[in-house]
Symmetry: C2
Subunit: 181 residues, 2 copies
């Protein structure tokens, strides 16, 4: 079944710092016209890091869109010309002060495919060594470590409420069980 929607008109309404807004007219395969509201957003990388004690690294920061602090794995926007894996390593250095000896891809995914072009690349970092890069100026971040079981408990009680972080934690728990831990 062909489901492709073809653009017949595109109207950029806003060009901003981290996102653009576009409203497109599209033709459905049936010929019917529809409107699509699209947020253009740069891709991002995130990294689930485990330390020598088996603890997972998290950052707590105020998220204005959520109106509160969220507990998340380190993440940030992929810069022009940057490889997403390098973004993951850079963000871990900036936000937590570690560089991974080993980096493994977990998955890439769209965060909100109903309206946003943002694709997120998630990595798993281990064999950490201390290596600090300066943080972005307007980022106020606290770091903390949780055991995998504590992290999972915080998903259940709502303290962890971020899509990429939840996907990464359950990925890790699933690997642990596979490895008989």
């Amino acid at each position: 079944m062909d489901k492709t929607e073809r653009m017949t008109a595109s109207n950029c309404l806003y060009r901003g710092r981290i996102l653009n807004l576009r409203v497109d007219e599209v033709a459905l395969p049936s010929g019917v016209q529809a409107k699509r509201e699209i947020v253009e957003h740069r891709d991002a990388s995130a990294v689930l890091a485990v330390d020598a004690y088996g603890l997972l690294l998290f950052v707590s920061q105020y998220r204005y869109a959520a109106g509160k602090e969220l507990l998340e794995i380190p993440a940030g926007l992929v810069e022009d010309g940057e490889n997403p894996a390098d973004t993951a390593v850079r963000e871990l250095q900036e936000e937590c002060g570690y560089k991974p000896g080993k980096l493994e891809k977990i998955a890439s995914f769209y965060c909100s495919p109903g309206f946003s072009t943002e694709k997120l690349h998630v990595y798993f970092a281990s064999e950490l060594v201390k290596s600090k890069l300066p943080e972005d100026e307007d980022e106020l971040i606290e770091t903390l470590r949780l055991s995998p079981a504590e992290a999972e408990e915080k998903i259940t009680n709502g303290e962890i409420a971020d899509a990429k972080t939840i996907a990464a934690i359950y990925w890790y728990r699933r690997q642990q069980f596979d490895n008989g831990i």
Copy 2:
């Protein structure tokens, strides 16, 4: 550490069908002013459903923001006055033609907390019985079933590339291992 960002000015730039765009001026705890580009988006519900054979239900639909078809768990916007659990049940009936005998909450999370207010509520549905509701007119959807192992393989090879779907699959795999399956 107080990280709260306080709004000092708010400017709505667009009011649309599924989203609004707002650019706010905020004061950081240090007193420094910053700009926040915020997409206001209605909350949504999604549902991971397992049938009597242990297969998981997916829908394939064209996602214009991604420029391709994506394989996702059934999902949709929470309507005015609707309970998110009822949204999950309604979407499963509309998109797959089943009603769950049992519905369990997996998690609630922000999809893109860097700019979007959208919160997604994810449920697990089992003990399915046939019960079809008509689909939205402009939704072209194909349904399919995958074993949990097939679903996981499609994350690894990139065929499943949607945040909520990946979080739900790894949640399910982790439960399976916990239950010794």
